[in-house]
């Protein structure tokens, strides 16, 4: 998955002129984004640029002050069922420390109405190499294992759109590589991904589009070049920041 040409498909997720204000402060201004199957959109920007706010709006966790988000052609949050098509993997795990890895994933399976939630949870944990620690409380697991349980939870319901926020933070190289492989596998299965990460090198193998967000606005938004390297993109990014 390295910038090869992709078939044109109708967008899974389309954000149009998204704006979000917190009081008098603009967190996002006029952000538009269109994500189709097999695409991974990398969003980079300095701290406070609005990256996490963007993901929250795309996930339906927050409402835009203006603009709209269309998911599979329908407005997001029109009904609870529309959220079934979205998976959010955040640097926050969305897990309960007092439950076991299995209980956490099984709970998510029940919320998503999967048939045989216990079986679905076991299978997903096994796929991620967590079968042996499935019945351990989450608080006893390493940061890398917790992140894998979070992946199991976020991707359990086979979402069409994955929103991923700093997935490599605090992970050792091996765990970070596993997360990259998982993202790649989900994309190859037909997903569209929006990835927010400071770790451009780690993410680069799956990226198809790049966006630079500064002060709540997209200052650059384009396809990744077929032979473009992460370092070349970072140089462009730094020059954009310098202004």
């Amino acid at each position: 998955m390295t910038g090869a040409p992709h078939p044109i498909a109708s967008p899974l997720l389309e954000a149009r002129a998204l704006e979000r204000r917190f009081g008098s402060r603009w967190a996002l201004r006029g952000v538009s984004l269109s994500v189709s199957p097999l695409q991974c959109h990398l969003v980079v920007g300095p701290n406070g640029a609005g990256k996490t706010t963007l993901l929250r709006l795309l996930a339906g966790l927050a409402r835009p002050s203006a603009g709209s988000v269309q998911l599979l052609g329908a407005p997001l949050s029109a009904d609870a069922a529309s959220r079934r098509s979205v998976g959010l993997l955040s640097h926050q795990s969305h897990l309960y420390d007092d439950l076991t890895a299995f209980e956490n994933v099984e709970f998510a399976a029940r919320l998503y109405g999967l048939p045989e939630p216990a079986k679905a949870a076991r299978v997903r944990l096994e796929t991620l190499g967590l079968a042996e620690v499935a019945d351990q409380p989450l608080r006893r697991l390493s940061r890398g294992m917790v992140q894998r349980v979070a992946v199991a939870r976020a991707f359990l319901h086979d979402p069409k759109v994955l929103l991923v926020d700093e997935p490599f933070t605090g992970l050792d190289p091996e765990s970070a590589r596993r997360v990259s492989i998982l993202l790649d596998a989900e994309m190859m299965g037909g997903c569209g991904v929006v990835l927010v990460s400071h770790d451009v090198h780690e993410a680069w193998s799956v990226v198809t589009h790049v966006h630079v967000l500064v002060g709540g606005a997209l200052v650059s938004s384009r396809k990744r070049g077929p032979v473009e390297t992460a370092e070349a993109f970072l140089q462009e990014y730094r020059s954009l920041l310098r202004g």
Binding site: L61, A80, L95, Y96, L111, Y112
Partner: protein, 226 residues
């Protein structure tokens, strides 16, 4: 509708399981209730005030304050690891989230009641003399209403910096009617008055429940949107 109850039940079971592991809220609430009862028992001038005059108020103040400790925990546990976002992302209605939290909170508060009531009998040496069913009815009706209000306020205050302080400040004004009515019921039953005298208070408690459970169900989804 079946989906709503399925999701609500899953959330309630999860909350009870988490509390079963940590026991943070229950141990705090039960310890608090026992300490308050002990303090009221020994810090009273026996010559100035008979136990029977003080007992109904002590029971209800102890019970409701202890319940607030349990309510505080219900959304605090969703704050860890931003678990609340995980709940809100799921394809379940916000009403299901409210119902799940409400059911779990009811279970916790009834456990607090189950511990408080025997301690109250022990410390205050009261004889229910046939009044126990009436007191339990008052407890159940009062709990159904104030736990609904408490669940909504716990969801609001968890996003504030001083959640532990804010919840009692917001909730206590709404606790005054059911607690006052429950005290009236308990006073009459402990002094051997006929059950007919408390029916009016029980109806008021039931009305409070209908109004506030309905309002909570309607308002909660609006409060969850950023």
């Amino acid at each position: 509708m079946a989906d709503l109850f399925r999701a609500a039940l899953a959330i309630a079971i999860k909350d009870i399981r988490v509390e079963g592991r940590s026991r943070t809220a229950l141990i705090s609430a039960v310890t608090f209730a026992a300490l308050v009862l002990v303090i009221f028992n020994f810090a009273r001038d026996p010559g100035a005030l008979p136990k029977s005059a003080l007992a109904p108020s002590v029971l209800w103040i102890t019970f409701t304050f202890a319940a607030v400790i349990a309510l505080n925990r219900s959304f605090a546990l969703e704050k860890e690891n931003a678990a609340l976002d995980g709940l809100l992302l799921a394809p379940v209605s916000r009403s299901a989230v409210f119902l799940g939290k409400y059911l779990a909170n009811l279970a916790f508060v009834f456990v607090v009641l189950a511990v408080t009531l025997p301690l109250f009998v022990l410390f205050f040496d009261v004889g229910f003399e046939g009044g126990l069913p009436g007191i339990l009815a008052a407890a159940v009706l009062a709990t159904l209403g104030f736990v609904a209000v408490g669940t909504v306020f716990a969801a609001i205050t968890v996003r504030t910096r001083f959640a532990d302080l804010m919840l009692p400040l917001l909730l206590f004004p709404f606790l005054m009617p059911p607690v006052t009515w429950a005290v009236q019921i308990t006073t009459r039953l402990l002094s051997g008055r006929p059950v007919g005298e408390i029916l009016g208070w029980l109806r008021l408690l039931a009305l409070y429940d209908v109004v506030f459970v309905t309002l909570s169900l309607l308002l909660f989804p609006l409060l969850m949107d950023e």
